[in-house]
Symmetry: D2
Subunit: 137 residues, 4 copies
């Protein structure tokens, strides 16, 4: 399974060196994961007026930065499921501009719910189901 | 002249009250202005490897917040040129979700260049030219 | 009444033009208001594990930007209460670096609670009480 | 060598789940590194009016998130130099609130200058000198 999303580098992403300020990449990665879960129908926002109920929660992330990105660059975020169990998904992400790889990331994502248990909640069964079909595909 | 752009409310835009953290609206407004200037061909990013050369610079902003926005809301940003002279553009912005107006903003934008003069640089002549045609239309 | 807080301009506050990206000022202003309310004992964070309960909510803001701020500038934020009624506080803010005024802001702040009523909640009575003493002083 | 800095969790750091939105930690880590380099006298901001000249640049980062942080938490950032060569510093960071470790991070930092060479610039000699004394201490 892979998921792709696009994003252009905006003025607000860049620092005085004229390149993407690296913490902004984590906002972009988080948004890419959010878009992927929403599109796969395995997560939804709280209904109007309700407080936050449950969602993905980062457990570990590792990023190698290969080349800087500049104002106006078109970035492609490509996410891949590497594996999962009841409490964790392993996702890899590559960010390209054209043929040039800008960074490579590895995320371990858990789940959080209203009842916060030690070590996080279990992944929702619908999500596990979809992940299983993905891995088999 | 008017310019419209869309943006959905993401997790990273929202605060612990579950609504858009208001400083995020200023990032969104800034991005909308950036998109408008780029699309109108009156601004461009520095060419690869160069430092920032020139661009819009805020002089004054006024915002009335009517209703909060929530996770997943689809926001429409509508910008209108209200007037301009050699050193300032006056722009109004309305942000809607469906028929509900979320906020209304008024921006005075100047210009900044490499030679920073007191009171800011003049608007580029191409920009003034396009603004004049817009006002006459 | 006035409240002062300090903040130095960090790398993450600045844009490719090497000056504070203006939406960052709104985060700084919001933090200054937060610090003022907390220090005055008129607001508190939710107790551990609880969701957000109530707090200030922006209704209107107006900012005039006088001079840009640069990396390493020491900024003084000075807040003053201009007036209040049951649903709104009016606060002015000046931001200085040395003797140079960088911006001047006017904020109308309402209140939001769990029961969101049209037009916002009333200001908490303790807050109104403290504001009244302030105005008389 | 170790460097400590404090930061309290503010409203703007938190997400609708009421905990620190994880990309904010990277801004905090970046600020801690910035403060450490400035305080050690091994980096300085550009002089007034000049463009960005040179500074640290992230090459790799790895973070394990142990426990979430909440509004008002007092966070201690503790940085340690693990090693360095001509082009890279290896730094570890621990973030605590009281006795509870919130996260642990490992950063490889390079350097960037005006003349951008493949693989980044060399660490400035003053910085290498200070790092060497640190390691020996």
């Amino acid at each position: 399974m892979s998921f792709q999303t696009l994003r252009s580098v905006k003025f607000q992403d860049c620092d005085p060196a004229g390149i993407v300020f690296y913490p902004r990449y984590f906002e972009m990665l988080d948004e890419a994961v959010e878009d992927w879960l929403l599109q796969a129908g395995t997560w939804h926002y709280p209904s109007d007026g309700n407080a936050f109920e449950a969602g993905p929660q980062i457990a570990r992330i590792e990023v190698e930065f290969h080349r800087p990105s500049r104002l106006g660059d078109q970035l492609v975020f490509e996410l891949r499921l590497q594996g999962f169990d009841e409490r964790r998904m392993k996702i890899s992400a590559s960010v390209f501009s054209g043929n040039e790889q800008r960074l490579r990331a590895f995320l371990d994502l858990g789940w959080t719910g209203n009842e916060r248990s030690e070590g996080g909640a279990r992944l929702p069964s619908l999500l596990q189901h979809k992940l299983a079909r993905t891995i088999d595909a």
